[in-house]
Amino acid sequence: MKKIEAIIQPFKLEPVKEALHKLSVQGMTVTEVKGFGRQKGIREVYRGMEYQVDFLPKVKIEVVVPEEKAESITKAIIEHARTGRIGDGKIFVYPVAEVIRIRTGETGDGAV
């Protein structure tokens, strides 16, 4: 099993979700995060005081999948999250030691 973690632009969540759904990914977990990167931040102004906000809103998608599906899923994410502009984000893949479904106690591929 692998965990695929993608940091993407918030407005790309819907299309990525749809794409993964089509690849019959049955579950995923999403977190609102703030990203710091090459993409330049936002300038905000309050009563003439200027602040540079470096952390931009991003969305983190986590999906744990069987090894063999990892590549196709990664590809799908890239395809649907890309705009081609700086700030599109990253995909990180991690090893997973174990997976359990709480409701049934199932483990391994059957659990996701």
């Binding site: 407005f11 819907e14 936002i42 300038r43 905000e44 102004v45 309050y46």
Partner: protein, 407 residues
């Protein structure tokens, strides 16, 4: 001059001013959080912009001496010259002329602010400012003159509009329709979820509107008397009826009553009773209200099928509610309630309904055509919409470099 009447009209003017911040909340709660400040900003800056316009020449166009054909006032009140602290008997013998003027200023302000709901989340701010100034001058001021101005042709024609169903709500509602048609839909409309970001804010806005509307309707009597009381009472009970009406029909159609529905119903009732407030009895007011809730809910339901994106349902609530109110005045008005008015269809006088229909149609055609022309010209010159990325990022950041919340 009468101190009770003056106290009343000034208090009512303050109440009507408060309606615009109330409207800002009502609308603001329904947009997405990335556009909250832009929505509030549009509403607030209209107070300032139309306020100054009114003082400089708007009041003169609307309520100045008629130029002759009943179409517009002349500029003799330019810069409020001659509009002083003494009463001006043409409009009221018991309150200062300036009190009448400033009470009317609040109406001139809230009317264009109502349109904002149609185009939020995508309208370019600089173009918006120009549009508002032109619309206030070319649409609101003349129509106000027709219906309320001394020598205005619709007034003389016999149309009844107690507190502005035609001038305010139909007028703004049809302009909103033009806006939705020309400006086009928000990106993602129909596919993405566009969920109100803060419904308690909307609900508070509805509460403030209800409160302020007492000033709007009862204040239109321009005196603290029996007529003002009648208008106050009708305003309250129609609104109660409309909240119940919307809730009931939504419960039937969708299976659940909603808070947004009750808030929307209340506003629909306030709109619908506006033209009738000083002409009908309280039981008629309840009926007008209940049906306003039903009709506006159905109008709102129909919108997605029609394909235009009137973001916050200005058409469904203000235009439909306003038309219903104008027609209902033609049905339920009674001289027994107010002998300065007229009897409606249900009190034996079908003619009034015809007059009301004419007044409605004339306003709709005029406002729609001028609004359309304004939008077309501004589209060709300044551009109506923000850039696509600006819309995605939200107008708070892209147009104002601010964010609403940092909780």
């Amino acid at each position: 001059m009468n101190s009770g009447d003056t106290a009343f009209v000034l208090a009512c003017a303050a109440l009507v001013l408060l309606m615009t911040p109330g409207l800002a909340l009502f609308y603001g709660g329904m947009v997405r959080s990335k556009n909250i400040l832009n929505t509030l900003m549009q509403t607030y800056i209209i107070i300032a912009l139309v306020g100054v316009q009114w003082a400089v020449f708007g009041y003169s166009l609307a309520f100045g001496p008629d130029t002759g054909a009943g179409l517009i006032g002349n500029l003799s009140y330019f810069g409020l010259q001659g509009v002083g602290p003494e009463p001006f008997a043409t409009y009221s013998e018991t309150i200062p002329h300036q009190a009448f003027m400033v009470f009317q200023a609040m109406f001139a302000i809230i009317t264009p602010a109502l349109i904002v709901g149609a185009w939020v989340e995508r309208f370019k701010f600089s173009t918006f400012l120009v549009f508002i100034l032109l619309w206030a001058t070319l649409v609101y001021d003349p129509v106000a003159h027709w219906v309320w101005g001394d020598g205005g042709w619709l007034k003389d024609f016999g149309a009844l509009d107690f507190a502005g169903g035609t001038v305010v709500h139909i007028n703004a509602g049809i302009a909103a329709f033009a806006a939705a048609l020309i400006i086009g839909r928000r990106q993602g409309y129909g596919s993405e979820a566009m969920i109100p970001h803060n419904l308690p804010m909307t609900v508070l806005g509805a509460g403030i509107l209800w409160f302020g509307w007492f000033g709007f309707n009862a204040g239109s009597a321009l005196a603290a008397d029996g007529l003002a009381t009648i208008a106050f009472v009708n305003t309250h009970f129609a609104t109660c009826g409309a909240a119940l009406g919307w809730m009931a029909v939504e419960w039937l159609v969708r299976g659940k009553p909603t808070m947004l529905g009750v808030a929307s119903g209340a506003v629909a009732g306030l709109v619908a009773i506006t033209p009738a407030a000083g002409f009908v009895g309280p039981m008629s007011a309840i009926i007008i209200g209940v049906l306003a809730g039903v009709f506006c809910y159905l109008a709102v339901l129909a919108k997605p099928k029609m394909g235009y994106d009137d973001s916050l349902d200005v058409v469904g609530v203000h235009m439909v509610g306003g038309i219903w109110g104008a027609l209902a005045t033609g049905l339920f008005a009674s001289k027994a309630v107010n002998d300065a008015g007229a009897d409606g269809l249900f009190f034996g006088n079908p003619a009034l309904l015809g007059i009301q229909v004419v007044a409605v149609l004339v306003t709709m055609v005029y406002s729609f055509v001028i609004s359309l022309i304004l939008f077309k010209v501004l589209d060709a010159t300044m551009g109506l919409r923000v850039e696509s990325e600006e819309e995605v990022a939200g107008l708070d950041i892209s147009a104002h470099q601010e964010t609403g919340y940092s909780l």
